[in-house]
Symmetry: C2
Subunit: 452 residues, 2 copies
Amino acid sequence: MEKLKPRTLSGFMELLPQPQQQMERMMEILRRTYALYGFTPLDTPVIESSEVLLAKGGGDTEKQIYRFTKGDADLSLRFDLTVPLAKYVALHYNDLSFPFRRYQIGKVYRGERAQRGRFREFYQADIDVIGDGKLDITNEAEIPAIIYQTFTTLGLRRFQIRVNNRKILNGFYAMQGLTERSGDIMRTVDKLDKIGADKVRTCLMEDCGLTDGQADEILAFIAITGSNEQVLSALQNYAGRSEVFDQGLEELNTVVKYLAAFGVPEENFAVDLTIARGLDYYTGTVYETTLLDHPEIGSVCSGGRYDNLAEYYTDKQLPGVGISIGLTRLFYVLGEQGMLNPDLPTAPADVLVLPMTDDLAPAIALSTRLRAAGIRTQLYTEAKKFKAKMNYADKQGIPYVIFLGDDEIAQSLVSCKDMVSGEQTKLGFDETLQRIRAGLAEKNAGAVILEK
Amino acid sequence: MEKLKPRTLSGFMELLPQPQQQMERMMEILRRTYALYGFTPLDTPVIESSEVLLAKGGGDTEKQIYRFTKGDADLSLRFDLTVPLAKYVALHYNDLSFPFRRYQIGKVYRGERAQRGRFREFYQADIDVIGDGKLDITNEAEIPAIIYQTFTTLGLRRFQIRVNNRKILNGFYAMQGLTERSGDIMRTVDKLDKIGADKVRTCLMEDCGLTDGQADEILAFIAITGSNEQVLSALQNYAGRSEVFDQGLEELNTVVKYLAAFGVPEENFAVDLTIARGLDYYTGTVYETTLLDHPEIGSVCSGGRYDNLAEYYTDKQLPGVGISIGLTRLFYVLGEQGMLNPDLPTAPADVLVLPMTDDLAPAIALSTRLRAAGIRTQLYTEAKKFKAKMNYADKQGIPYVIFLGDDEIAQSLVSCKDMVSGEQTKLGFDETLQRIRAGLAEKNAGAVILEK
């Protein structure tokens, strides 16, 4: 028969079993952490009606969308989890309790030009809190705690949650009479890290048409840095000139004030006036998260407060705050950086049982007993040489191999080899189980991500 | 602004938060059970090249496929998890260890005519064991154990795993000189439950062209029922006339022999000679699983042994055995039958913390402490009347509400209301935590599925 060359599409992540286990650990941590903060899991379809998905329309996203027809239906694959959430909340409004807190970890699709580290199918891991009409500022203050908890549980320490408030920016630009040019100015300021203050100044004057004095004001403003206290105190000097600014400053004060109670150490948090994010969408607190040793990766968790989640579907005012982790890209980058802990078990099983007798019943019964005790057990019965069997365990990193021969069966004992230390014991079932459990607890104790 | 009516496509399951929590529990049980048997999780793309996905070609499936172009690429959404597995194993052959045991729980797509209980996007939960060249019969014997463990962990007792062996059928038809008509005959026999033995007899003679004697033979054969021992003993009478039959009978004997060691009670297992399944694909043991009180649902977990997983992609002989649970349909049917345990917690949080002071820091710190102790905690700070806050907890089924006022803070106590019993306590943090933990353990003790 003619064979077809098997292949996986470029831009689609397909992991081998060992990295897949690491990915599963990350997902499990995200699920557990999000649940700890009272978010409920949701699962919406990957396919939506194009009309619904593209209600907002326009933008770069539309070109990237996987859109097609099936019968009479004009369909699209979701390109984020926010639009499906907006649809969900508008559609099921009467069945939901507000504030509605949901998390969703799911695949989204963007037909970007394929390049290294860019994916066309990728997981996003989102949380959002949606209010009905109003939403208290405490929800915005809680987000850094969730980001902190998520990343520390994954194993990171050297990261920083950078926070700003769009009202502070909007109020500041209003004070300067630059409201209409604020979009251009923010895009220019956003390049500060890349091109430096001098070039930003030139661009502000030449491209945005600012006067010398206006450019000075803006550079002075974004130069406000230091501890949270220092930044907030410097911002206080602008107070009283714009209602919007004052409201933003009050919100930012609240967010900072509750950090300690939320368990976020000061060193993992910074007020950063250069952060703007999604110019048309966010209206209050905005968040970015950077790895201190890998600024080149950019933000690994971003989001913010918005005033109107579902305006394309409903008259209801649905303000919210949310963050998103681009999980597939994060996983890829961590792998590239060698930051995925290689010592955590990634084997499909904790124990490989090798029967040494023709009658398999004792080995099967032993496997059944191990599984009942919660030990992930594989029974190996292929007709192979002993060495091949041991190689099978070794290659997959299965930590324990159990042999069951006539001797062991007669004595009601179990021979168990620790594949790392090489140590072999011949003990009763309960003692063997205890040793395996203790060993697994130790092996599983590490975090998924290792900082160097 | 003009509003667009939000909607979800028909044939796409989109659950409200409470049923979604039940679905998550089911998925978690499947993941844990499959892992206990040494299966490794895999995740393959939803989109594949059409050429790869449709290598086998033809059949009804092809009409149902979501197929489209993006740029120059001819793409399709996967319609099952078996073809992607075949591609995966052929593509990554050199990086895998055999037998390769994987599970995958993922969405698949079939553009079927929309009707009640039929889904166009649905989860399949598959396990497969793939051998390299050969695969020991013990793997086939283990499958009923995995099915049994999965369904009992979900909460079912009244189900039966029905098993047959395609070699027994093929051998039997060969003995009768009916090999070429075996497909038609099996399709006719398959209707036994629906149309009865007399009509099957008529069809066998009129539609399949069998003689009186041949029809008698077939009806006598499929009438072999009783205990496993009785069926196996009756089959023994046909032994010695066909090599294929004898091999099938030996395999079936092995499967039955090890049932007890695998922990499968006899009452949950039956040899059933009427089961054939996927006529072209399966070659050895085949499995179906039926709910005894709901035969109308059909099989909820099916599969079997095949000889050549990836023949369209590779010359390598890759025999395997696998089963699949149609999770979305199963969940739908269980819901329709009222079999989803309504007493299990489905709330997004275990505790709702209501601050009763202007300074939120103590309530935030308490929430942080509860979360650190593993309690799913929502802090509620919206400006609502007390009654509205209690309604919020009640409507979502949040089991505990904690109040923190000036009194409690001054005394280092916590007021906690059990929303089911109505009992309210005012105790220290540790005692409150202990009560909550004990209460949650009790509430979470039940199984997901309830038999009536």
